[in-house]
Structures are given as structure tokens and as C-alpha cells.
């Protein structure tokens, strides 16, 4: 029987927290890329893109992330892909994040006054030029605070990956609990670490939000 001191618990959780951070970054960056592609498809008014993206968003926002993880896990296995928890969790969280970011950013683009679009059109700018020089820079400024805020949701979302066997902070907590029989202490530590990860991000998002509103 190995005795776990509080420090042992803490150290092991800290080691597992690396994977929470890694998975969050994968989901956030991957989701950002896919979300941007969805947004551009919508703005470029490709046939069917408007509806397609709306349905996509509704699907991911209207179903539990846990089910999406299970579907990625079982679905990939069905396709004959050898699924590690990394692939399934990475895929599910990327798609989930992309749906939310595409929606958030659409709101930001919509907040740009119509006159800007019309001015860009009257200068005969191409779609790419419009995005690059007129819409993009303005939307980006509006988009930063809510995007940073959503990062908190992504970090919290990675906790669900524990359910399909991805060893991150929550899963490590469960494993350590099974070894030490001290659920209260362990889960309190786990919660504390999530708080340490998320709180600075939400505080930063709030600060951005506030300074943005002051500017206006």
C-alpha cells in the first residue's frame, strides 16, 4: 500500500493538468480554424452554406458534448479507424468549438455597420479584399473578448473527455480517488486546478470586454 500525501495528490494532478491544457489548445486552435472556414463559407454566400452552417451549429449547440464525444469514439471505431482517446476527444472538441466560434464570430461580423459593406462594394473590392481590409480588422476587435471568454468553456469541456478514457485532470482525479479513498480532498484539488486555469482567462476576458466598452 502506497501512502499518498497531499503533495503526492497535488503533484500527480498537476502532471495530468498538462493534458487538459494540451487538449484545450488542440480544440481551441482546431475549432478556430474550422469555425473560421464555416464563417467564411457563410459570408461568401456559397449555395447552401447559410443553411448548412446553421444546421451544423444547431446540432452541436443542441446536443450534449458528452454524446458528441461518445459518437466520435464509437463512430470512428465503426469506420475502422483505430481510435485512441486523443483522436476521439480532439475531433469531438474541435467540432464542438468550431460550431460555437462560428456563431460567436458571425455575431461580431453582423455588428459591423452596413455602410462599411456598401462602401467596400462601391470600391469594387473583391471578397478577399473586403475581408482582409474592411470587415476582418473591425470584426476582430469586437471578437476578441467573447472568444477569450469561450476558451473557458473549452477548458471546462475537456473534463468530459475523461469519460471516454482520456487521462486528463478529471480522470486523474478519479484514478487517485480510487487509490486513496479521499474523494473530498482529491476533487477539491481538481476543482482548484480548474479554477486556477479558468479564472485568469475569464478575468482577462472581462477586462477586455470592459476596456472595449469604454472605447466606444
Amino acid at each position: 500500500m502506497v501512502d499518498f500525501s497531499l503533495w503526492d495528490i497535488f503533484r500527480n494532478l498537476l502532471l495530468a493538468a498538462r493534458w487538459t491544457v494540451a487538449l484545450s489548445l488542440i480544440a481551441f486552435i482546431g475549432g478556430g480554424i474550422v469555425g473560421l472556414a464555416l464563417l467564411l463559407a457563410r459570408l461568401a454566400q456559397w449555395p447552401g452554406a447559410q443553411r448548412g452552417v446553421a444546421v451544423y451549429t444547431q446540432l452541436f449547440q443542441g446536443t450534449p458534448l458528452l454524446m458528441q464525444l461518445f459518437l466520435a469514439y464509437f463512430g470512428l471505431a465503426l469506420l475502422g479507424v483505430n481510435v485512441s482517446a486523443w483522436v476521439a476527444a480532439g475531433l469531438a472538441l474541435t467540432l464542438y468549438t468550431s460550431a460555437f466560434l462560428a456563431e460567436i464570430w458571425r455575431g461580431c461580423v453582423n455588428a459591423i455597420p452596413k455602410g462599411q459593406w456598401e462602401a467596400a462594394d462601391s470600391l469594387a473590392l473583391s471578397f478577399t479584399e473586403k475581408m482582409r481590409h474592411v470587415v476582418g480588422p473591425q470584426a476582430l476587435r469586437i471578437a476578441v473578448p467573447p472568444t477569450v471568454g469561450f476558451l473557458v468553456q473549452v477548458i471546462k469541456g475537456t473534463a468530459l473527455a475523461s469519460v471516454i478514457g482520456f487521462i486528463e485532470l478529471t480522470k486523474a482525479g478519479t484514478m487517485i480517488t480510487n487509490a486513496t479513498f479521499r474523494p473530498f480532498t482529491v476533487y477539491a484539488c481538481v476543482a482548484l486546478m480548474y479554477f486556477a486555469l479558468c479564472w485568469p482567462v475569464s478575468a482577462y476576458a472581462r477586462k477586455l470586454e470592459r476596456s472595449f466598452q469604454r472605447e466606444r
Partner: protein, 225 residues
């Protein structure tokens, strides 16, 4: 070749139906209690005495910056070591209420702080007590202003309740898990469960949007809003 067999899953519809009903029951309990808690906490943060507002602020930040699954595990696995033993169902409701309460508090507060000063002064000049001012003058239009956000949050909590199956609360995702352990049709079972969640989330949203103006904040005269 992939062969999907949905019949094997759909033939277990009683389990799915029971699971869906249980998910709705959990969510309804959490919504009523959670919004109540949120109103109390929203009041405390906007109008309450300073120390109380600070305590509530800590609660709100703590909940909003930790994952629901950890909160649930803490309630279900952690609290028994303090002598509080809970059934999975009670633990689920408690975790959901605590979770929703924190988000609802922020939502309610946003509604409260946007109340025009003149309305509060007018109510006070009519010799209403502070409680009356809050419950009759400030709260209903405040809820009306933030109702869309509140509805979204309730739906999010309902979808989050899928995690409660992990502590064997017998809701929809638990039913799906049970079915797939019987017939090994994991993908089909979760597809069906996910589709049911989608229907539930759309239905609950529609219902709450319909209900809000009629029963929650609509009994005030509409003038002046």
C-alpha cells in the same frame, strides 16, 4: 462495409422513453430551484449587504470556472466523507441547482442593474417596502429583459445533465449506455439518444419562450417597457 442496426436500439424504446422523461424531470427540478437560487443570489450581488455580495461573488466565480462534471463528482463522491450520503438522483439535482444558480445569478443581476432609477424611486415614494419594490417593480421586467439568456442557460444545464449518467442517475445517456452494453450497438444507441436530446432541447426552448411572458414576468402592465 458499415452496417447500422437502429432497430436493435429502437426496440428498447421504453428504456429510452423513461430516460428522456427522467432527464426532463431532473432539468425541471433544477430549473425551478436553480432560477430561484439565481434570483436570490442576483439580488444579493446587486442590492444585498456588502459581505453577502462578496460571498455570493465567490460562489459564482467558483462555479463558473470549474467543470460541471467535477462539481457533480464532488457532491456525489466527496460529500459522503463529510457524512452527507446522497442518492445519485439527489446528488444530480443538487449539482445542477448549484451550477445553474451561479449562472442565473449573473443573468438576473444583469437584468436588475439595468432597471431605470426612476422606477425604483417611484415605487419607494408609494411607500412600498424594499421587498415589495424588488419583487413587484424590479424583478419582473428584469427577468423579462434577460429571459432569452436564462432560457439558453436552462437548456445548457439540461444538456449538461447527460453527465449525471456517470454517477448512475438513470437519465437518457444512462439509458443509451445500458442499451449499448446489452447489444453492443454503441454508435446507434448514442445517435438515437443524441437525436432525442436535440428534440428535447428544441422543445424545452420553445416551451420556456412561450411560458416566460405568460407566467413568469408577463403579469405586469406592459406600458413603459
Amino acid at each position: 462495409m458499415i452496417q447500422l442496426d437502429f432497430l436493435a436500439v429502437l426496440s428498447q424504446w421504453p428504456a429510452l422513453l423513461r430516460g428522456a422523461a427522467f432527464t426532463l424531470l431532473l432539468s425541471a427540478a433544477a430549473a425551478v430551484l436553480g432560477v430561484g437560487l439565481g434570483i436570490a443570489c442576483g439580488w444579493a450581488r446587486a442590492w444585498g449587504p456588502k459581505p453577502l455580495a462578496a460571498v455570493v461573488g465567490v460562489y459564482v466565480e467558483a462555479v463558473r470556472n470549474t467543470p460541471f462534471i467535477v462539481q457533480l463528482f464532488f457532491v456525489y463522491f466527496g460529500l459522503p466523507s463529510l457524512g452527507v450520503k446522497l442518492s445519485p438522483e439527489v446528488a444530480s439535482v443538487i449539482a445542477m441547482v448549484v451550477n445553474l444558480g451561479a449562472y442565473a445569478a449573473e443573468i438576473v443581476r444583469a437584468g436588475i442593474v439595468n432597471t431605470p432609477k426612476g422606477q425604483i424611486e417611484a415605487a419607494r415614494s408609494l411607500a412600498m417596502t424594499e421587498l415589495q419594490v424588488f419583487l413587484r417593480v424590479v424583478l419582473p421586467p428584469a427577468l423579462g429583459r434577460v429571459w432569452p439568456a436564462m432560457v439558453s442557460q436552462i437548456v445548457i444545464v439540461m444538456l449538461g445533465s447527460a453527465v449525471c449518467g456517470q454517477i448512475s442517475a438513470q437519465e437518457l445517456s444512462y439509458a443509451a449506455n445500458l442499451i449499448q452494453s446489452r447489444n453492443f450497438r454503441g454508435f446507434e444507441a448514442y445517435i438515437v439518444a443524441t437525436a432525442i436530446y436535440l428534440v428535447l432541447s428544441i422543445a424545452v426552448r420553445q416551451f420556456l419562450n412561450w411560458m416566460g411572458p405568460r407566467f413568469i414576468f408577463g403579469r405586469l402592465p406592459q406600458a413603459g417597457r
